[in-house]
């Protein structure tokens, strides 16, 4: 405080004073305080609303949160989410490769798939697959224009679960293939040159060089996509698949406790989505090897210390 300058009228400090800006005091930022106050006020009011409104019936929520049929519905939702994710990746990757192929026929097939399955609403597809028996009473496996190897009754093959899996999975695969294609395209072509120059074959180049680098670009949109998928699974309740939403609906159709049971469903959806989010953050860390600053975050959870954007891996170089 010794150095606080004797100010002259002109606003300049006299020259014999040594200035060190580290001694400056931060100003009082009034607008920030006001903004904070408003936010706190709104949050307090909302909390009060949640607690004081009797119609939320929190006791009912608590009662049904771990109800056996609801836990079963939760399990079905999780299984559909995981199966559709697997289907979308295992189908989406070859479609993406088709779209990048030098062979015109493969490019056309890939393009047509994306055009068709991205174009049809998932709900329409679920209903369509569920009613496939009207179109094809039997499903046969065989060589085109050749012998039939085996055939099944469509109604036995297409259970509500399978219809849900096809409707959601095929749609997801179309979106996923575009995400994967974007990831592959984002890898510098020089990487492929270098790999080929070392004599690496196509498969090794793809899995050792291209995929690990493409993952950085694939994971963020894929995370959003999977979160969207986890929520879209609620569509399958239209074909009487006993997923989370359906299990909840069955109960409130009987007890009329609509709001608390919806809250139960909301709670579990949020839990699923949060787990997916954490998974995404973890995978992004894993695949950011070699990027500046990628390892400097100490914690594995997303709420780590604040870092500026530059340090969290955006490469400006």
């Amino acid at each position: 405080m010794v150095n606080r300058g004797r100010r002259e009228r002109t606003g300049r400090f006299s020259e014999d004073v040594v200035i060190d800006v580290s001694t400056a005091r931060p100003p009082l930022r009034v607008w920030r305080l006001i903004a904070t106050a408003i936010v706190l006020l709104i949050v307090a009011r909302m909390l009060l609303f949640l607690i004081q409104t009797p119609n939320f019936q929190w006791d009912v929520v608590a009662q049904y949160l771990t109800f056996p049929s609801i836990l079963h519905g939760l399990l079905v939702t999780i299984v559909i989410t995981i199966s559709c994710t697997a289907l979308s990746i295992f189908l989406g990757t070859p479609i993406a490769l088709c779209r990048l192929s030098p062979v015109l026929a493969l490019r056309a097939v890939g393009g047509a798939y994306v055009w068709l399955f991205r174009g049809l609403p998932a709900l329409v597809q679920i209903v369509f697959w569920f009613n496939l028996a009207y179109l094809l009473p039997r499903i046969s496996l065989g060589i085109p224009f050749g012998p039939v190897l085996h055939s099944w009754s469509t109604n036995k093959v297409i259970s509500p679960f399978v219809a849900a899996l096809l409707g959601l999975g095929l749609t997801e695969a179309a979106y996923m293939s575009e995400i994967i294609r974007a990831g592959i395209l984002s890898v510098d072509p020089g990487q492929r040159d270098a790999a080929r120059s070392l004599g690496l074959g196509a498969l090794k180049t793809f899995f050792l060089i291209i995929v690990p680098q493409a993952m950085r670009f694939i994971l963020p949109p894929m995370g959003s996509q999977l979160i969207g998928l986890a929520k879209s699974t609620s569509l399958v309740s239209v074909v009487a698949t006993s997923d989370l939403l359906f299990s909840v609906e069955v109960i409130y159709a009987r007890t009329f406790e609509v709001i608390p049971l919806m809250l139960v469903a909301c709670f579990w959806y949020i839990v699923i989505v949060s787990i997916l989010f954490l998974l995404q953050v973890y995978l992004e860390r894993r695949f950011s090897q070699g990027r500046m600053g990628a390892r400097s975050h100490g914690a594995w959870w997303p709420w780590g210390r604040h870092r500026p954007a530059v340090a969290s891996g955006i490469d400006l170089g």
Binding site: S197, I209, Q213, F287, G290
Partner: protein, 274 residues
């Protein structure tokens, strides 16, 4: 020429390459002998880079033929008919050459040591322990023994390019192709890379170097090749190419460069001092 008693390591005959309607390489004939350093100079767009990319079979050629140790590159005779080789056979041929790129093209997701060992392990089938041991030696040799556990992005451009050279050497190639190895580097980092290349030349490594560093070309080259518009205009020892250029085009090219690169001269002097 000195090497006529032996078969050349690399032989190019009438190599032509078109991109669409543009003729990029227009009948290239070139022999590179064991232990020889051939430096290719010429204005941008003259086809220098395309030529080395064609040799490494990163681009296909449209006419002519290329031989590595008398083995036809990229094509094979089957029942008296010529046809393109399988990718597998092409890769086997690529393993006997190595390339150093202008943009380094190191694998950013792999540590320096893994960048050097990936070729020997995944492509040549070496045991990881052996490959690692050899990679250590090579990295020491390019002066990066202490950077083995770093990721490429943590290194300067000059260091990255030296890693790329170690990666090329790890393939124990018959010939190394350098595609403008210093063009992407800051001026003060050029010297350290050129020193490494010069050291390799001294040890008798067979090399083709595409470069704009004329001073370096003069010091290191056994033979200089001047290319323009996809053709080889003049070939000769550096003393002839820089001292008594025969063609008008080469004279123009050299004088234009000298006018343009007052800075360049300074950079090369610094290199000479090192």
């Amino acid at each position: 020429m000195a090497g006529e008693r032996r078969a050349p390591v690399l032989r190019l005959r009438g190599v032509r390459k078109t991109f669409g309607s543009e003729l990029v390489l227009d009948g290239i004939d070139l022999d590179v002998y064991e232990g020889e350093v051939v430096v290719i100079i010429g204005p941008s767009g003259s086809g220098k880079t395309t030529l080395v990319r064609c040799i490494d079979q990163l681009e296909s050629i449209d006419a002519g033929a290329m031989y590595l140790d008398d083995e036809l590159l990229g094509f094979e005779l089957v029942g008296g008919r010529l046809r393109p080789m399988s990718e597998r056979s092409v890769n086997a041929q690529r393993r006997r050459m190595a390339m150093v790129f202008q943009q380094f093209n190191l694998f950013p997701h792999k540590k320096v040591i893994d960048n050097v060992t990936i070729g020997p392990i995944q492509s040549r089938g070496q045991v990881p322990a052996d490959a690692t041991r050899r990679a250590r030696v090579l990295l020491e040799r390019v002066g990066l023994g202490d950077k083995m556990q770093c990721y490429p992005r943590q290194l300067s451009g000059g260091q990255q390019q030296r890693v790329a050279i170690a990666r090329a050497l790890a393939m124990e190639p018959r010939i190394i192709l350098f595609d403008e190895p210093t063009s992407a580097l800051d001026a003060e980092l050029v010297g350290e890379v050129l020193d490494v290349i010069q050291e390799l030349a001294r040890e008798g490594m067979t090399m083709i170097v595409v470069t704009h560093e004329l001073r370096f070309a003069r010091e290191v080259a056994d033979r200089c090749v001047f290319m323009e518009r996809g053709r080889i205009i003049e070939v000769g020892p550096p003393a002839q190419i820089f001292g008594q250029p025969r063609s008008e085009r080469l004279r123009t090219f050299l004088s234009e460069l000298q006018n343009l690169t007052g800075l360049d001269a300074g950079r090369e002097d610094r290199h000479a001092v090192r």
